[in-house]
Amino acid sequence: MSIYPGLSGIVIDGREVPWLGGTIHYWRLEREEWDHILDAAAGFGLSFIETYIPWSVHEIERGRFDFGQSDPKKDVGTFIDMIGERGLYVMVRPGPHINAELTGFGYPERIFAREEMLSRSALGSLIWLPVLPKAFPCPSYADNKFLNEFGLYLDALAPVLVPRLYPQGPVVACQVDNEMSYFFRTAIYDHDYSKSAAAMWSVFLQERYGALENLGRAYGKNFSSFESVPMPVRFEAQELADFRYYLDFAEFKEELMVRPLAELKNMLVDRGIDRILFFHNYPMTRGKTPFSYPKTEAVVDVSGVDSYHRKKNYVSIKKMSLSVAAQSRLPVIPEFGAGCYLFWPPLDLDDHKFAAMTALMHGIKGINFYMLVERERWYGSPIDRHGHIRTEHADFIKKLVSTLNEHRFFSMKREAKISFVSARVYDRLEKASYLFSPITPIAFEFSVGPEYLCHEGRFGQNFRPQIDHHRFLEAGILCADRHAIPYVLADSDQNVPFASSVIACPTFDWLDIAAQKKLMEHAEAGGIAIIGPEMPCLDEHFEEQSLFEGRLVSPEMLIHKNPDALLFSVGKGKVLLVLGIPDSEEIADSLWSSIFQALNIDSVFLASSPCETSLFQADDGRRIVFVANPSETSQLAFLKPGFHCRLSDLFTGEEFFGTPDAFPIMMPAFTVRMLKAEL
């Protein structure tokens, strides 16, 4: 018996099952209606049913729980059995963080009265989440007493779950916690400054530096103990050497999410909830600090990201999908808004259709429809609370699921010509120099660049890495978009191999050795690493150490008469050093266009602006192309496939004909077509 993430789904006993599921909250539905609700759900062709199992719902009082003994709606064991009887697998999410618009997000109310278990701000106040219908203070995940309280719940839940784990039962996957993100408050100097978090900070420093002398050398001052090193509450660096402290803290904020996650997973495993797939879901984000796909996937098997996007959010869905597609083992959306909760900008079926297709178009390999069955504090699901199907919505999901399965879509590959790699260490600096804590940067992630949010100082450097790393990449990304060059958004820390032979990563005169090594190894193995605007000569300790210096010799000019793009041979591949960052958008675009041209990085299935395309291919020659019109008006998109083909819309059945250079397709406003391309 084995369950693990495959390339296109969950592999269960050697069979790859697509990650297509839907959510049902048993405790919010009448017990006598479960049967026909599940019958309705089974008709969607999905592989999984997913459910939370909230702590606050099942706890009667500390140490006493109801799993259906008193209230039949809480009989989660029977609910799981009933799903299994219908030939579906089950994914469970026992928390402790639930959200699901529950009052108190699934934490028992008694936890909020235990101040020692709660998170603290930099100035010592409790951290409140002002959500309807009652604001509550956030627990501290660094606190063992809090985790132990949750352990009491797991002790009671385990006997219900363990006999139902695969292969005895249908449970094949378990989510560890939910949307871990400091309760969506990710500003670096917001929280958690509780005593437990401070203790974890000391441990982190001790693990990193071993001895106090090493720490003293790194920070340029002496400390009497690791416990005496305070957590910073604002960015006060004066010079380059001061960065170390803040970079450590930014990295610690990643650890402060991941270590409790590991602890929670161990708590599940210790109680026999084991040998299934473990996963986690981020809220809507690109996965930058304090998030980290590689760190999270060192704990769980799969880390996905949630989506509650409106059709106007095309760029956000695209960037989020391109990021998770590049960085996760199995890029999935564990919560994809089918319907919506009340206190979010309203989502309708058109939003749902457009967002789902956009996510798939940009590399998502699994979707869980949240909520498949409506419940209180939610509207617009394909099945209502009594099991009645809402035809239009249900038809879309059924058609989507059958199309994805019929065409084995998840086994197809989206070719990326270039990976834009965010250097994690500069991203940490960006977050460390954020000036608007505690306002959550999640609010600005897809709208405002770091120049608006971060310290603008140079600290004796030629550039401002905290801002300019973003400028370097954005110039390339904008140009790739304009030329319809398919790309992904990668991370220098990622364990998943880069999706393309060409990668572009910002580098300044300092860069951590691990990232330097990764870039160099990529080039040596035959790839092309585009770096710049400077060649790194210092490591993350700002000491002279460079894997590039002395290795990058005898440059050629990549672009005729342009000394700012120097090509070096390294092993079997090349390093392209792009010196400087052009000030104007036009010059940057011209530079990147020339780079793409010189490196033979060209478009795939070019579409006339504002439409965009994305091509997926299978080893056996099958091809599917997505065409998106993200604008508010209808567009006659002219495609340039570059080869003779016939395109047929897999949803509407329409057929389109054209030449390799001109393929007109009518695209209504905010639509994505999924087209089968046949030679």
């Binding site: 509550f136 309708d348 609370r385 306002i439």
Partner: protein
């Protein structure tokens, strides 16, 4: 005012979307331009102009007054805060919340504490363009208690010219708190013609059976609603609309009718 066990169920997505839409203001406000500066002592860490965007390297130290700074930046207002402003603001706002309060009270406590801190810690030039006074829920609570009996519902329904529901919201109250939020979907009336009077009678019958009877119900045609929104004397317009059978207030407890009459008398 809001029960933490509020039942929010059977929300018709279209009705909800339309409800938000009808209350959105069509008026576009001409916002004054504001230069926002974050300072660390005399050093300007960040300067953002609300219309011109980022103003890097703003030589704030070269100005003798905020007036000069406003002129240099071409801003109607300058707002200056210290680096830790937001940290302090959040800390004070959060320290004011009490778990045992209900949600509106929690929010107000937070807002009042934040406003009090902002009053003394944002330097404005010219003086700040808004007034801050402590808000209180007491009057609202009294009014709600007076006009809306416990264990009853309020209903608000707008229909199109064919009497089909365009939006609906039904709120229930018990023990002094709103504990129900639903729409006509709960009674399968969301896509059926809803004539002003008979529609409300049907709704009242079904709602009484399932939740509580309706104590105040307002039904209007959508076009009439927009006309009323634009009218100078809204209550008078509503009254005329009732005569023209374009709107209906039913049921209407005596106290509400008296309040309406007084409102009209005083020119509303």
């Amino acid at each position: 005012m809001i029960s933490e066990r509020i039942r929010i169920a059977d929300i018709d997505g279209r009705h909800w979307k339309n409800l938000i839409e009808i209350f959105r203001s069509a008026r576009k406000f001409q916002m004054p331009s504001i230069l926002f500066c974050m300072m660390r002592g005399s050093e300007c860490l960040k300067a953002i102009h609300s219309q011109r965007g980022l103003m890097p390297d703003l030589p704030t130290g070269n100005f003798h007054s905020m007036e000069e700074l406003a002129q240099y930046a071409g801003a109607d207002y300058v707002a200056i805060v210290e680096e830790m402003f937001f940290q302090e603001l959040f800390a004070r706002s959060q320290a004011a919340i009490h778990y045992e309060d209900d949600y509106p009270e929690q929010l107000l406590s937070m807002i009042n504490a934040g406003a009090e801190y902002s009053k003394n810690n944002i330097r404005w030039h010219p003086k700040r363009p808004y007034k801050i006074g402590a808000l209180s829920l007491d009057k609202v609570k009294k009014a709600v208690k007076w006009a809306w009996r416990d264990n009853t519902c309020l209903a608000f329904i707008l229909t199109d010219e064919d009497n089909l529901p365009y939006t609906s919201v039904i709120l229930g109250k018990s023990e002094g708190r709103i504990d129900l939020f639903t729409t006509l979907l709960a009674f399968d009336l969301h896509e059926r013609p809803f004539p002003l009077r008979t529609g409300m009678l049907t709704l009242n019958r079904l709602c009484s059976k399932r939740y509580y009877p309706i104590s105040i119900g307002i039904t209007m045609h959508l076009a009439t609603f927009y006309e009323m929104k634009a009218a100078k004397r809204m209550l008078t317009f509503f009254d005329v609309s009732q005569t023209r059978e374009r709107a209906l207030l039913w049921p209407a407890p005596r106290l509400v009718r008296i309040a309406m009459w007084l409102g009209k008398f005083f020119g509303l």
